[in-house]
Protein backbone atom coordinates (compact mmCIF):
# COMPACT_ATOMS: atom_id res chain seq x y z
CA UNK A 1 0.00 0.00 0.00
CA UNK A 2 1.28 3.42 -0.91
CA UNK A 3 2.30 5.60 1.96
CA UNK A 4 1.15 8.68 0.15
CA UNK A 5 -2.54 8.01 -0.23
CA UNK A 6 -4.76 10.74 1.09
CA UNK A 7 -8.17 10.34 2.59
CA UNK A 8 -10.63 12.31 0.54
CA UNK A 9 -12.67 14.64 2.70
CA UNK A 10 -15.74 13.80 0.63
CA UNK A 11 -16.00 10.08 -0.11
CA UNK A 12 -16.72 7.84 2.86
CA UNK A 13 -13.90 5.32 3.38
CA UNK A 14 -14.51 1.74 4.47
CA UNK A 15 -14.34 0.95 8.18
CA UNK A 16 -10.83 -0.54 8.19
CA UNK A 17 -9.48 2.10 5.79
CA UNK A 18 -10.86 4.78 8.11
CA UNK A 19 -9.47 3.00 11.16
CA UNK A 20 -6.01 2.86 9.60
CA UNK A 21 -6.09 6.61 8.96
CA UNK A 22 -7.49 7.36 12.39
CA UNK A 23 -4.93 5.27 14.27
CA UNK A 24 -2.11 6.79 12.20
CA UNK A 25 -3.31 10.25 13.21
CA UNK A 26 -3.17 9.28 16.87
CA UNK A 27 0.25 7.70 16.53
CA UNK A 28 1.74 10.47 14.42
CA UNK A 29 0.73 13.16 16.90
CA UNK A 30 2.63 11.24 19.57
CA UNK A 31 5.72 10.43 17.51
CA UNK A 32 6.17 13.96 16.14
CA UNK A 33 5.64 15.70 19.48
CA UNK A 34 7.99 13.19 21.13
CA UNK A 35 10.64 14.11 18.54
CA UNK A 36 10.15 17.82 19.27
CA UNK A 37 10.46 17.25 23.03
CA UNK A 38 13.59 15.17 22.47
CA UNK A 39 15.20 18.29 20.99
CA UNK A 40 15.16 19.71 24.53
CA UNK A 41 17.53 17.04 25.84
CA UNK A 42 20.44 18.89 27.39
CA UNK A 43 18.78 22.27 26.85
CA UNK A 44 16.16 22.40 29.63
CA UNK A 45 16.23 25.47 31.90
CA UNK A 46 17.05 23.27 34.93
CA UNK A 47 17.96 19.58 35.21
CA UNK A 48 14.59 18.63 36.69
CA UNK A 49 12.82 20.26 33.76
CA UNK A 50 15.19 18.76 31.23
CA UNK A 51 14.32 15.29 32.57
CA UNK A 52 10.61 16.06 32.78
CA UNK A 53 10.41 17.20 29.16
CA UNK A 54 12.23 14.06 28.09
CA UNK A 55 9.96 11.84 30.18
CA UNK A 56 6.85 13.37 28.66
CA UNK A 57 8.40 12.75 25.25
CA UNK A 58 9.18 9.15 26.22
CA UNK A 59 5.57 8.57 27.29
CA UNK A 60 4.40 9.92 23.94
CA UNK A 61 6.90 7.79 22.04
CA UNK A 62 5.67 4.67 23.84
CA UNK A 63 2.06 5.57 23.09
CA UNK A 64 2.99 6.32 19.47
CA UNK A 65 4.57 2.88 19.16
CA UNK A 66 1.38 1.20 20.37
CA UNK A 67 -0.73 3.13 17.87
CA UNK A 68 1.64 2.52 14.96
CA UNK A 69 1.84 -1.20 15.77
CA UNK A 70 -1.94 -1.33 15.64
CA UNK A 71 -2.01 0.73 12.42
CA UNK A 72 0.29 -1.84 10.83
CA UNK A 73 -2.04 -4.66 11.89
CA UNK A 74 -5.07 -2.86 10.47
CA UNK A 75 -3.11 -2.26 7.28
CA UNK A 76 -2.39 -5.99 7.08
CA UNK A 77 -6.11 -6.71 7.35
CA UNK A 78 -6.74 -4.23 4.54
CA UNK A 79 -3.91 -4.98 2.17
CA UNK A 80 -2.66 -8.43 3.14
CA UNK A 81 0.60 -6.98 4.38
CA UNK A 82 1.18 -4.24 6.91
CA UNK A 83 4.14 -2.06 7.75
CA UNK A 84 5.99 -2.32 11.06
CA UNK A 85 6.07 0.57 13.53
CA UNK A 86 9.61 1.36 12.38
CA UNK A 87 8.67 1.38 8.69
CA UNK A 88 5.76 3.69 9.44
CA UNK A 89 7.88 6.04 11.53
CA UNK A 90 11.05 6.15 9.47
CA UNK A 91 10.02 5.50 5.87
CA UNK A 92 7.02 7.75 5.32
CA UNK A 93 7.57 11.17 3.82
CA UNK A 94 5.86 14.29 5.14
CA UNK A 95 2.79 14.02 2.94
CA UNK A 96 1.99 10.61 4.41
CA UNK A 97 2.19 11.87 8.00
CA UNK A 98 -1.18 12.47 9.67
CA UNK A 99 -0.33 14.54 12.76
CA UNK A 100 -1.96 17.89 13.46
CA UNK A 101 0.20 20.85 12.48
CA UNK A 102 0.41 22.08 16.09
CA UNK A 103 2.76 19.30 17.19
CA UNK A 104 5.26 19.77 14.36
CA UNK A 105 5.84 23.47 15.04
CA UNK A 106 9.34 24.36 16.26
CA UNK A 107 10.00 24.45 19.99
CA UNK A 108 10.77 28.17 20.17
CA UNK A 109 11.52 29.31 23.70
CA UNK A 110 10.40 27.44 26.82
CA UNK A 111 7.12 29.38 26.89
CA UNK A 112 6.32 28.35 23.31
CA UNK A 113 7.08 24.71 24.10
CA UNK A 114 4.83 24.78 27.17
CA UNK A 115 2.03 26.66 25.37
CA UNK A 116 2.07 24.04 22.60
CA UNK A 117 2.06 21.29 25.23
CA UNK A 118 -0.76 22.94 27.18
CA UNK A 119 -3.04 23.27 24.16
CA UNK A 120 -2.26 19.74 23.01
CA UNK A 121 -2.27 17.92 26.37
CA UNK A 122 -5.76 19.00 27.35
CA UNK A 123 -7.25 18.09 23.96
CA UNK A 124 -5.27 14.83 24.05
CA UNK A 125 -6.55 13.93 27.52
CA UNK A 126 -10.19 14.55 26.60
CA UNK A 127 -9.75 12.51 23.43
CA UNK A 128 -8.10 9.57 25.22
CA UNK A 129 -10.72 9.50 27.97
CA UNK A 130 -13.41 9.33 25.30
CA UNK A 131 -11.50 6.66 23.36
CA UNK A 132 -11.15 4.55 26.51
CA UNK A 133 -14.82 3.75 25.86
CA UNK A 134 -14.27 2.93 22.17
CA UNK A 135 -16.14 0.00 20.64
CA UNK A 136 -12.76 -1.17 19.31
CA UNK A 137 -11.17 -2.95 22.30
CA UNK A 138 -7.62 -2.32 21.12
CA UNK A 139 -8.26 1.41 20.75
CA UNK A 140 -9.91 1.40 24.17
CA UNK A 141 -7.04 -0.32 25.98
CA UNK A 142 -4.30 1.81 24.40
CA UNK A 143 -6.30 4.96 25.20
CA UNK A 144 -6.88 3.90 28.81
CA UNK A 145 -3.18 3.24 29.30
CA UNK A 146 -2.16 6.51 27.64
CA UNK A 147 -4.74 8.61 29.50
CA UNK A 148 -3.14 7.76 32.83
CA UNK A 149 0.09 9.30 31.58
CA UNK A 150 -1.41 12.25 29.71
CA UNK A 151 -3.39 13.22 32.81
CA UNK A 152 -0.04 14.01 34.38
CA UNK A 153 1.19 15.85 31.26
CA UNK A 154 -1.92 18.04 31.30
CA UNK A 155 -1.52 18.96 34.97
CA UNK A 156 2.11 19.79 34.42
CA UNK A 157 1.74 22.01 31.36
CA UNK A 158 -1.15 23.90 32.99
CA UNK A 159 1.06 24.49 36.04
CA UNK A 160 3.75 25.98 33.82
CA UNK A 161 1.31 28.27 31.99
CA UNK A 162 0.19 29.59 35.38
CA UNK A 163 3.70 29.89 36.75
CA UNK A 164 5.01 31.77 33.72
CA UNK A 165 1.86 33.85 33.21
CA UNK A 166 1.63 34.85 36.86
CA UNK A 167 5.40 35.32 37.03
CA UNK A 168 7.69 38.12 35.95
CA UNK A 169 6.85 40.73 33.31
CA UNK A 170 9.21 38.92 30.94
CA UNK A 171 7.80 35.44 31.50
CA UNK A 172 4.26 36.76 31.28
CA UNK A 173 4.93 38.54 27.97
CA UNK A 174 6.58 35.46 26.50
CA UNK A 175 3.78 33.12 27.55
CA UNK A 176 1.10 35.43 26.16
CA UNK A 177 3.00 35.77 22.89
CA UNK A 178 3.35 31.99 22.62
CA UNK A 179 -0.33 31.38 23.34
CA UNK A 180 -1.32 33.99 20.72
CA UNK A 181 0.99 32.59 18.04
CA UNK A 182 -0.09 28.98 18.52
CA UNK A 183 -3.79 29.70 18.90
CA UNK A 184 -4.57 29.43 15.14
CA UNK A 185 -3.30 25.83 15.24
CA UNK A 186 -5.79 24.69 17.90
CA UNK A 187 -8.80 24.49 15.59
CA UNK A 188 -7.45 21.39 13.89
CA UNK A 189 -7.58 19.52 17.22
CA UNK A 190 -11.38 19.55 17.00
CA UNK A 191 -11.90 19.31 13.23
CA UNK A 192 -13.70 16.31 11.79
CA UNK A 193 -13.74 14.78 8.32
CA UNK A 194 -15.09 11.67 6.58
CA UNK A 195 -12.66 9.41 8.48
CA UNK A 196 -13.97 10.67 11.81
CA UNK A 197 -17.61 10.47 10.75
CA UNK A 198 -17.38 6.82 9.67
CA UNK A 199 -15.74 5.82 12.95
CA UNK A 200 -17.87 8.00 15.23
CA UNK A 201 -20.94 6.35 13.71
CA UNK A 202 -19.41 2.96 14.50
CA UNK A 203 -18.67 3.96 18.10
CA UNK A 204 -14.94 3.53 17.50
CA UNK A 205 -13.79 7.16 17.36
CA UNK A 206 -14.53 10.08 19.63
CA UNK A 207 -16.42 13.06 18.27
CA UNK A 208 -13.65 15.67 18.38
CA UNK A 209 -16.08 18.53 17.88
CA UNK A 210 -17.76 17.63 21.17
CA UNK A 211 -14.43 17.98 22.98
CA UNK A 212 -14.01 21.63 22.05
CA UNK A 213 -16.29 23.07 24.77
CA UNK A 214 -14.71 21.22 27.72
CA UNK A 215 -11.24 22.00 26.34
CA UNK A 216 -12.06 25.70 26.04
CA UNK A 217 -13.46 25.74 29.58
CA UNK A 218 -10.17 24.35 30.92
CA UNK A 219 -8.08 26.76 28.83
CA UNK A 220 -10.14 29.71 30.05
CA UNK A 221 -9.86 28.63 33.68
CA UNK A 222 -6.09 28.15 33.50
CA UNK A 223 -5.46 31.40 31.61
CA UNK A 224 -7.57 33.32 34.13
CA UNK A 225 -5.49 31.91 36.98
CA UNK A 226 -2.35 32.76 35.01
CA UNK A 227 -3.56 36.37 34.52
CA UNK A 228 -3.31 35.81 30.75
CA UNK A 229 -5.79 36.64 27.99
CA UNK A 230 -7.58 34.11 25.83
CA UNK A 231 -6.44 34.71 22.23
CA UNK A 232 -9.22 36.27 20.19
CA UNK A 233 -8.53 35.10 16.63
CA UNK A 234 -11.01 32.90 14.81
CA UNK A 235 -8.90 31.91 11.75
CA UNK A 236 -7.68 28.35 12.17
CA UNK A 237 -5.06 26.50 10.13
CA UNK A 238 -5.93 23.07 8.79
CA UNK A 239 -9.47 23.02 10.13
CA UNK A 240 -11.01 23.11 6.65
CA UNK A 241 -10.36 19.48 5.77
CA UNK A 242 -6.89 20.27 4.42
CA UNK A 243 -4.64 20.11 7.44
CA UNK A 244 -2.00 17.88 8.92
CA UNK A 245 -4.49 15.07 9.46
CA UNK A 246 -5.01 14.97 5.69
CA UNK A 247 -1.26 15.16 5.00
CA UNK A 248 -0.99 18.92 4.48
CA UNK A 249 1.80 20.18 6.71
CA UNK A 250 3.82 23.26 7.53
CA UNK A 251 7.32 23.64 6.13
CA UNK A 252 8.68 22.55 9.51
CA UNK A 253 7.74 18.86 9.28
CA UNK A 254 10.18 18.06 6.47
CA UNK A 255 13.10 19.42 8.50
CA UNK A 256 12.02 17.42 11.54
CA UNK A 257 11.76 14.22 9.49
CA UNK A 258 15.12 14.84 7.84
CA UNK A 259 16.72 14.53 11.25
CA UNK A 260 14.44 11.84 12.69
CA UNK A 261 14.67 9.57 9.63
CA UNK A 262 18.29 10.23 8.68
CA UNK A 263 19.75 6.91 9.74
CA UNK A 264 17.19 4.69 8.02
CA UNK A 265 17.35 6.85 4.89
CA UNK A 266 21.15 6.82 4.73
CA UNK A 267 21.54 3.18 5.76
CA UNK A 268 18.30 1.43 4.71
CA UNK A 269 17.43 -1.50 6.95
CA UNK A 270 20.24 -0.72 9.42
CA UNK A 271 19.95 -2.64 12.71
CA UNK A 272 21.85 -2.50 15.95
Amino acid sequence: MSGGTRASAGAAPGADAALFEYVLRLGDNDVILAQRLAEWVGHGPVIEEDIALTNVGLDLLGQGRMWLQYAGEVEARLAGTGRSEDELAFLRDGGAYRNVQLVELPNGDFAATMARQFYFDHAHLLLLRALARSADPRVAEIAAKAAKEVDYHAQRSADWVIRLGDGTAESRARMQRALDRLWPYTGELFATDAVDRVLVAAGVAADAEALRAPWLATVERVLAEATLSLPAGTWMHGANGRGGRQGVHTEHLGHLLAEMQFLQRAYPGARW
Binding site: N55, L61, G62, M66, E141, K145, A147
Partner: protein
Amino acid sequence: MVTDEQRALAAAAGAGAAVPPVDVVWDALAGVPDPEIPAVSIVELGMVRAVGWDGGRLRVEVTPTYSGCPATDVIAGMIRERLAAIGFADVDVVMRLSPPWSTDWIAPEAKAKLAAYGIAPPQSRAVVVDVAGVSPKGRPRGRTPERAARR
Protein backbone atom coordinates in the same frame (compact mmCIF):
# COMPACT_ATOMS: atom_id res chain seq x y z
CA MET B 1 16.05 -26.54 24.68
CA VAL B 2 12.84 -28.54 25.00
CA THR B 3 13.10 -31.65 27.16
CA ASP B 4 11.23 -34.81 26.29
CA GLU B 5 9.09 -34.25 29.35
CA GLN B 6 8.13 -30.74 28.17
CA ARG B 7 7.36 -32.08 24.71
CA ALA B 8 5.08 -34.64 26.25
CA LEU B 9 3.40 -32.02 28.43
CA ALA B 10 2.92 -29.69 25.51
CA ALA B 11 1.52 -32.50 23.37
CA ALA B 12 -0.83 -33.48 26.18
CA ALA B 13 -2.01 -29.88 26.52
CA GLY B 14 -2.47 -29.62 22.78
CA ALA B 15 -4.51 -32.81 22.79
CA GLY B 16 -6.88 -31.29 25.33
CA ALA B 17 -5.64 -33.38 28.25
CA ALA B 18 -5.07 -31.87 31.69
CA VAL B 19 -2.56 -29.02 31.31
CA PRO B 20 0.64 -29.06 33.35
CA PRO B 21 0.63 -26.88 36.46
CA VAL B 22 1.94 -23.38 35.90
CA ASP B 23 3.29 -22.95 39.44
CA VAL B 24 6.76 -23.91 38.26
CA VAL B 25 6.59 -21.10 35.70
CA TRP B 26 5.46 -18.54 38.27
CA ASP B 27 8.29 -19.64 40.58
CA ALA B 28 10.80 -19.19 37.75
CA LEU B 29 9.44 -15.75 36.86
CA ALA B 30 9.75 -14.73 40.51
CA GLY B 31 13.48 -15.02 39.88
CA VAL B 32 13.47 -12.47 37.06
CA PRO B 33 14.53 -9.09 38.45
CA ASP B 34 13.25 -5.77 37.14
CA PRO B 35 16.12 -4.48 34.98
CA GLU B 36 15.89 -0.97 36.42
CA ILE B 37 15.19 -1.92 40.06
CA PRO B 38 16.80 -5.35 40.49
CA ALA B 39 15.83 -5.48 44.17
CA VAL B 40 12.35 -6.59 43.15
CA SER B 41 11.11 -9.15 40.64
CA ILE B 42 8.78 -8.57 37.73
CA VAL B 43 6.20 -10.71 39.55
CA GLU B 44 6.41 -8.59 42.70
CA LEU B 45 5.98 -5.44 40.60
CA GLY B 46 2.77 -6.84 39.18
CA MET B 47 4.03 -6.92 35.62
CA VAL B 48 3.19 -10.58 35.00
CA ARG B 49 -0.55 -10.78 34.50
CA ALA B 50 -1.11 -14.38 33.50
CA VAL B 51 0.64 -17.64 32.76
CA GLY B 52 -1.12 -20.44 30.94
CA TRP B 53 -1.20 -22.96 28.18
CA ASP B 54 -2.66 -21.94 24.86
CA GLY B 55 -3.01 -24.75 22.34
CA GLY B 56 0.07 -26.53 23.60
CA ARG B 57 2.19 -23.37 23.80
CA LEU B 58 3.15 -21.66 27.01
CA ARG B 59 1.83 -18.11 27.11
CA VAL B 60 3.03 -15.40 29.49
CA GLU B 61 1.09 -12.13 29.60
CA VAL B 62 3.06 -9.10 30.67
CA THR B 63 1.97 -5.51 31.18
CA PRO B 64 4.26 -2.49 30.79
CA THR B 65 4.51 -0.14 33.75
CA TYR B 66 4.41 2.91 31.49
CA SER B 67 4.03 3.19 27.72
CA GLY B 68 7.53 4.36 26.95
CA CYS B 69 9.33 1.91 29.23
CA PRO B 70 12.54 1.09 27.36
CA ALA B 71 12.98 -2.08 29.42
CA THR B 72 9.90 -3.77 28.01
CA ASP B 73 11.77 -5.59 25.25
CA VAL B 74 14.58 -6.51 27.64
CA ILE B 75 12.08 -7.98 30.10
CA ALA B 76 10.48 -10.12 27.39
CA GLY B 77 13.95 -11.43 26.53
CA MET B 78 14.75 -12.16 30.19
CA ILE B 79 11.50 -14.10 30.57
CA ARG B 80 12.32 -16.26 27.55
CA GLU B 81 15.84 -16.85 28.80
CA ARG B 82 14.73 -17.80 32.32
CA LEU B 83 12.03 -20.18 31.09
CA ALA B 84 14.35 -21.75 28.51
CA ALA B 85 16.71 -22.54 31.38
CA ILE B 86 14.05 -24.75 33.00
CA GLY B 87 13.06 -26.40 29.77
CA PHE B 88 10.40 -24.14 28.27
CA ALA B 89 12.05 -23.11 25.02
CA ASP B 90 8.99 -22.08 23.08
CA VAL B 91 7.14 -19.35 24.96
CA ASP B 92 4.78 -16.65 23.72
CA VAL B 93 5.37 -13.44 25.66
CA VAL B 94 2.33 -11.30 25.02
CA MET B 95 1.79 -7.64 25.97
CA ARG B 96 -1.43 -7.00 27.82
CA LEU B 97 -2.43 -3.36 28.37
CA SER B 98 -5.74 -3.73 30.14
CA PRO B 99 -6.28 -3.02 32.93
CA PRO B 100 -3.42 -0.50 32.97
CA TRP B 101 -0.66 -1.01 35.50
CA SER B 102 -0.46 1.24 38.53
CA THR B 103 1.60 1.07 41.70
CA ASP B 104 -1.37 -0.68 43.32
CA TRP B 105 -0.18 -3.80 41.48
CA ILE B 106 3.05 -3.86 43.51
CA ALA B 107 3.00 -6.64 46.10
CA PRO B 108 3.06 -5.37 49.72
CA GLU B 109 6.28 -7.24 50.52
CA ALA B 110 7.97 -5.61 47.53
CA LYS B 111 7.34 -2.16 49.02
CA ALA B 112 9.66 -3.03 51.92
CA LYS B 113 12.29 -4.17 49.41
CA LEU B 114 11.94 -0.90 47.49
CA ALA B 115 12.40 1.05 50.72
CA ALA B 116 15.54 -0.98 51.56
CA TYR B 117 16.80 -0.30 48.04
CA GLY B 118 16.45 3.44 48.63
CA ILE B 119 13.21 4.12 46.75
CA ALA B 120 10.31 5.54 48.71
CA PRO B 121 7.60 2.93 48.23
CA PRO B 122 4.45 4.39 46.68
CA GLN B 123 1.37 4.41 48.87
CA SER B 124 -2.14 3.87 47.61
CA ARG B 125 -4.20 7.03 47.59
CA ALA B 126 -7.67 8.20 46.72
CA VAL B 127 -8.91 7.97 43.15
CA VAL B 128 -7.99 11.07 41.15
CA VAL B 129 -9.13 9.85 37.76
CA ASP B 130 -10.46 6.53 36.61
CA VAL B 131 -10.57 6.66 32.85
CA ALA B 132 -11.38 3.07 32.05
CA GLY B 133 -13.58 2.20 34.97
CA VAL B 134 -11.39 -0.77 35.69
CA SER B 135 -9.97 -1.96 38.95
CA PRO B 136 -7.02 -4.30 39.29
CA LYS B 137 -8.24 -7.67 40.55
CA GLY B 138 -7.67 -8.15 44.23
CA ARG B 139 -5.84 -4.86 44.63
CA PRO B 140 -7.17 -1.58 45.97
CA ARG B 141 -8.74 0.68 43.39
CA GLY B 142 -6.90 3.89 42.76
CA ARG B 143 -4.35 5.89 40.85
CA THR B 144 -0.95 6.41 42.33
CA PRO B 145 2.23 8.22 41.30
CA GLU B 146 4.00 5.32 39.63
CA ARG B 147 6.82 7.58 38.52
CA ALA B 148 8.06 7.53 42.09
CA ALA B 149 8.94 3.91 41.59
CA ARG B 150 9.91 3.94 37.97
CA ARG B 151 12.05 6.98 37.39
